[in-house]
């Protein structure tokens, strides 16, 4: 399968047919939604939870409103702490910068903490090919996905769709694990295998959950302990962050942390939260000698200039929207063709890739709003997705959207004209009725060729009654309604008793 957003339709059709995976994922989502809902009660009742989310949204608003200032403040304070800050305009530059650091520090092996931005820029592939280094993902799920060479299934649970048997098979094949289906034995084997890599790695690479501007600190969140290794043992630590991952201070960072973990795994806090303020000092042994932060744009600053699209940068990557999304839960990650599946991908991919390639992402959506109803950072997914649709209709140079063709627009033009002209509207209904009803059997149409055929894949359509509501109103309903209402108003008791009798 060629996993690219352009192939959404064909890949989705294959994935949706995997009924067992679908049912499993829907079940898992149910469990996680329950855990997250329960964790959110720490804030209090429903309205207290709304307040907590609103505060999270406000923090993100503040960060975005002051983004340039906060990034510079962070840079100044990080420099003061001995952290070197590098800036990358795009994926290519970010990869080259890291390659430069690999060469500068004569790095042979790299251990990694789970980082979405590193996947966004394709760092592993680049470094292995261009710098000849060996890279080990430290997060178990990410490690399995790395060995298997597939897209992560979910931003938090990359291998959550895999069965124990599949996982055991991958580990047996790639790292010689004696086959076992016992989870504790699998974990134990990988623990020992990766422990050795952690101890020997020359460079550790991580993402960043929040960069704290006022102190120049990094906050990293995890459960497994790989990030602690990766930031403690190697000589060099490189942290990658996209431009929006900055907040003013720890009060903000810790509030977001609570929302992040509660909406991610349903935990009040994860096993480990690392706060890193710089490389180790002369008398210290653990911690890197040199520490770098690479601030990566990759298309975001252009989105930032748009008053509506800037909100796509609110996301704190909890992944809660994914487990709300009826589409993602049925088709999984593959059709999205990129590392951010589900509603996050729908919102972010179009500005990082382009509007044409990602069209199915923002169109394959029922606009049900499940995603934004739980979002702790105040994202309006639907506004953003419908905005992309509007941009695509008009064409948009900034984000590579060519204007849709006239043929595609003609249907909507006809509809719009019907809306403005009751005569046309009535004529349209008449034509549709004749067209549909000629295929009707026992009151339902069961199939139809042409553009409407999709509807009839799994469902029928009722035939259209000979009289529209409007005609029925004119013919009898209006008069009937008047009489009934008069009776009800004149004799409420009688009407009620009559009806009861």
């Amino acid at each position: 399968m060629d996993l690219r957003p352009e192939n959404f339709q064909s890949v989705a059709e294959i994935e949706v047919a995997k009924v067992a995976q679908r049912d499993f994922v829907v079940m898992v989502a149910g469990v996680f939604n329950y855990l997250c809902d329960t964790a959110m009660t720490a804030y209090g009742d429903g309205s207290a939870q709304d307040e907590a989310r609103a505060a999270g949204a406000q923090i993100r608003t503040n960060s975005l409103n002051n983004l340039a200032e906060l990034l510079q403040e962070f840079e100044t304070n990080a420099n003061r702490n001995g952290i070197q800050v590098l800036w990358a305009a795009d994926a290519e530059e970010a990869c080259q910068l890291v390659k430069g650091l690999v060469e500068k520090h004569q790095v042979k092996t790299i251990s990694k903490g789970k980082s979405m931005i590193s996947e966004e820029i394709g760092l592993n592939h680049f470094l292995e090919k261009e710098a000849g280094v060996k890279i080990y993902e430290g997060d178990l799920g990410e490690f399995i996905v790395q060995l298997r060479g597939t897209l992560p299934f979910h931003i938090v649970g990359p291998a959550i769709n895999m069965t124990v048997q599949e996982i055991a098979g991958v580990l047996q094949q790639h790292i010689d694990m004696p086959y076992t289906e016992v989870a504790t034995e699998i974990v134990s084997y990988v623990r020992t295998y990766l422990r050795d890599k952690f101890e020997r790695a020359d460079m550790g690479i991580t993402g960043v959950n929040q960069a704290i501007a006022s102190t120049g600190s990094l906050m990293l969140v995890e459960n497994e302990g790989n990030i602690r290794w990766v930031t403690s043992a190697p000589r060099v630590h490189v942290a990658l962050m996209s431009i929006e991952k900055v907040c003013a201070n720890f009060a903000d960072a810790f509030h977001l942390l609570g929302l992040l973990t509660r909406n991610c795994t349903g935990q009040a806090i994860t096993s480990y939260v690392s706060v890193l303020n710089g490389p180790r000092r002369a008398e210290e042994v653990d911690g890197p000698e040199a520490m770098y932060v690479v601030i990566i744009d990759n298309g975001r600053s252009i989105a930032y200039q748009d008053p509506l699209l800037k909100d796509a940068l609110r996301c704190i990557r909890c992944g809660r929207c994914g487990i709300q999304c009826p589409i993602y839960l049925r088709i999984g990650a593959n059709p999205y063709g990129w590392i951010y599946p589900g509603p996050i991908g729908n919102v972010i991919a179009p500005v990082i890739m382009d509007l044409d390639r990602t069209r199915d992402l923002y169109e394959a959506c029922t606009l049900c709003g499940g995603c934004q109803s739980v979002c702790p950072s105040g994202m309006s997914h639907l506004d953003i997705m419908t905005h992309y649709r509007q941009m695509k209709v008009k064409g948009d140079d900034r984000f590579g959207g060519t204007r849709i063709c006239i043929k595609e627009r003609s249907g909507f033009k006809i509809l719009a004209r019907g809306m403005q002209n009751p005569g046309l509207y009535k004529a349209g209904v008449k034509i549709a009725r004749r067209f549909l009803n000629q295929r009707s059997q026992d009151g339902y149409i069961t199939q139809m060729p042409g553009p409407m055929s999709g509807w009839f894949r799994c469902r029928d359509f009722p035939e259209m009654p000979e009289k529209t509501f409007r005609q029925r109103w004119q013919d009898e309903l209006q008069e009937e309604a008047r009489q009934t209402a008069d009776r009800a108003v004149a004799h409420p008791e009688a009407a009620a008793q009559n009806e009861e009798g």
Binding site: N81, D139, T231, S271, Y272, V285, K310
Partner: protein, 215 residues
Amino acid sequence: MSSRAMILERLNSATWTKPSSSREVISTPASIVSGDVEMFVSKATAAGAQVEEVGSLDEVQNRLVQIVQEEQLQKIVITDEENLKEIDWEQLSQQTKSQVQSIAQLPGENYRSYVVEAGLGVTGCKYALAETGTVVLEHSHSNERLVSHAPDHYVCIVKRDQILKDRYVLASLFDSGLSSTAWTLVTGVSRTADVALQVVLGMHGPRKVTIFVVG
């Protein structure tokens, strides 16, 4: 133009009007700073730590002897923190026939090779959080990062008065300045659910965490 300049230029030239920053900080009243010990114990226990309330460091020492004997531990690594110095490590070492090394006695290379072989790491902490059962470690040459992470069994000694109410209190302490190179908030045991959603404790960090609440 450098990428830095270009990115900042784009951010600064956004056409939408940025409201003057109004900030709603989630604050905790200054009066409620210290945390409830019972809550700390129950939250830390729920996160997978074994928590014991003890009267004194002497008791901690006795319990450590039992732990070392029960688990037949050979090598123990301890940090160079003040509240650990009241424990008689030499006596413990003799009683249990185990090797106890303080990071103060281990020069660079030796420390690293010792810490990854140690079966037990013992540290104090700077704070603890009742809200989540978290211990807050301030790392430095006297509390190296891997002492609390590399050994299979990690013991943390918490004094009652170190327990804060919640993360917001910690945030205000951090916001008023933090000088150390690294801090870690440890809550329970390292874990993963990546194998078919089964929660397994002891992924890359300690498999076992024991917390002594003293005082």
